[in-house]
């Protein structure tokens, strides 16, 4: 691969992720509206929100750590996008592999923790403490799932994992071969997206949106952009591990949107757990299902 093509892919992959992510945010809000029998926001609403936030006249910064925190939060996901193969573009996926990706996906939470720490708002600190606790909770099943998949396919290279699944057709998909791990993965996905039963660190009615409490203008805009990337990353990762990646863009997008729609639909039907309930649940059921699935895979 020539260097120009690689550079072009590195620019294109985050851009595509952002655009797809915008539509995912729209889908999230539309699903919520449909379940509550409302009309929901117009098509371009996520874009209007972001442009408006960046177009604010006063931008209140709480210090340079605050600025860097947001850059890390968005940058971590931008780096993650280049490690996720999409149809026609591999970026640096075959050099990075699954383990790097799992590491890179933790950077945004840490960046947010740094940034919010400087806001000195007690709600923000509580929110961050909860976000990191939640990360601890969902990362255990997540790592089990990733390990199981890597064991089954005998590689941590996402490009190879996708190629093996596509060679086997639908019956070669990870979800067919490892149904238990796929279920545990769905649990971890729900926690990773911070959606309702596990929405402990946003909790608008309790701690006033936690990490976002002091964010205004472009800082909040940065977090909105981050949300687009977050939805996209989680969806694409799941599709790559269990649903055979994308043969072409049409099937790829259908799969990714379908996967992301599951946690969103579940989210609007549930209230919120407490922090310790979330940890207990996460470390019990998905871990148990995941370990069982792992036993079948390694057997």
């Amino acid at each position: 691969m020539s260097i120009q093509i690689l550079l072009m892919e590195l620019v294109l992959m985050p851009l595509v992720a952002f655009v797809v992510g915008l539509f995912m945010v729209l889908m999230l809000r539309r699903i919520g509206a449909k379940l509550q029998r409302r009309v929901g926001p117009p098509m371009m609403q996520p874009l209007y929100d972001i442009v408006k936030l960046y177009g604010k006249k006063t931008q209140i910064s709480h210090g340079w750590m605050h600025d860097i925190g947001i850059i890390m939060a968005v940058g971590g996901y931008v780096a993650a996008e280049t490690l996720l193969p999409v149809p026609g573009m591999d970026g640096i996926a075959d050099k990075g592999g699954l383990v790097t990706l799992v590491y890179v996906m933790m950077i945004p939470s840490l960046g947010l923790a740094l940034g919010v720490g400087q806001c000195a708002n007690p709600n923000g600190s509580i929110g961050i403490a909860r976000a990191l606790t939640a990360m601890l909770a969902y990362d255990v099943p997540f790592v089990i799932v990733v390990f199981g998949v890597a064991w089954y396919f005998g590689t941590t290279n996402l490009v190879d994992i996708i190629a093996i699944q596509q060679a086997g057709g639908v019956s070669g998909w990870g979800a067919i071969a490892m149904p238990l791990l796929a279920i545990a993965g769905l649990f971890a996905l729900q926690g990773m997206l911070g959606k309702q039963p596990f929405e402990i660190y946003i909790a608008p009615a309790e701690i006033a949106t936690g990490p976002m409490v002091e964010m205004s203008g472009k800082y909040l805009g940065g977090l909105f952009v981050m949300q687009c990337f977050q939805l996209y990353t989680a969806g694409v990762l799941y599709v790559s591990l269990f649903l055979g990646g994308g043969e072409n863009w049409l099937f790829f997008l259908i799969k990714v949107f379908a996967v992301v729609a599951i946690p969103m639909t579940v989210a609007f039907l549930f209230p919120r757990y407490k922090t310790e309930q979330m940890i207990r649940l996460m470390w019990k059921w998905p871990v148990m299902i995941g370990l069982l699935g792992l036993a079948f895979v390694m057997h």
Binding site: Q36, R37, M44, Y48, V51, K52, G55, T209, M215
Partner: protein, 244 residues
């Protein structure tokens, strides 16, 4: 020695040089009008008409209006009814923390002229003496249709750039501060540095400073860091004090 002439670029001068500036302005104004995050400070009884306006019957979200929970994130401040003097202090604190451009909507007759609390000693009668109100929705209480109609009006005004109450607050800060001091006493102060903000964003006008801001500067006490108390083993300890 030769004097060096360093051109100082103000944001007003910068705006004129970009050929696409007007397109961008138009786009941002459009997005502002289509995406309004509101902070509802539900003071009086008028708040009861907001839930139907937000939920499935009237659904404000299709206009891009959604509730937000902190002043930092919000664009519109909804005052839904009478404001007692104690509440008004909180409302002003909240308003000054919001990021500009910000808009204030007074819902209910009580915010227009005191309504049925006209004779009360404890309520502020006219909201727009203390805050720049962009839009009033009169009624006791206004129905959700009226609230939505008002929101649409505000959208039009934002779109055309008429809704500039927030600039007015910076330009005539002295007048607003005077009214606030009249109500709260001479030692009234807020953590936000409005004059500093006005000069930083080129929004200062002839009425930004005056006799009332001078009075503010005389009485101003520096902000003290917040002290937290928490109970450890039955004894009340104070964080931030030195223990030897």
């Amino acid at each position: 020695m030769k004097e060096i002439d360093i051109p100082i670029e103000t944001s007003a001068a910068k705006r004129r040089t970009n050929p696409l500036a007007r397109v961008f302005d138009e786009l941002v104004r459009f997005c502002r009008s289509r995406s309004m995050f509101m902070l509802h400070y539900c003071t009086g009884c008028g708040a009861i008409e907001l839930p139907p306006a937000m939920t499935s019957r009237f659904d404000m979200e299709r206009l891009g209006i959604q509730p937000m929970v902190t002043p930092r994130q919000a664009d519109i401040l909804l005052i839904t009814g009478y404001v007692s003097i104690k509440t008004l202090k909180r409302v002003i604190l909240t308003y000054e923390q919001m990021g500009s451009p910000k808009y204030v909507i007074g819902i209910c007759s009580c915010t227009v002229n005191g309504g049925m609390y006209w004779q009360s000693y404890a309520t502020a009668k006219q909201l727009d003496q203390y805050l720049p109100v962009d839009l009033y929705i009169a009624g006791c209480m206004p129905r959700p249709e009226a609230v939505l109609e008002g929101m649409r009006k505000l959208m039009d005004r934002i779109r055309s750039g008429e809704a500039d109450g927030w600039e007015d607050y910076y330009r005539r800060y002295d007048w607003y501060l005077g009214n606030q001091q009249h109500l709260f006493g001479d030692d009234w102060q807020t953590p936000a540095d409005v004059i500093g903000e006005a000069s930083h964003y080129d929004l200062a006008g002839p009425g930004t400073e005056g006799e009332h801001t001078r009075l503010l500067q005389q009485c101003q006490k520096p902000l003290e860091p917040q002290q937290t108390f928490f109970q450890i083993g039955g004894s009340l300890e104070k964080k931030g004090e030195s223990h030897e």
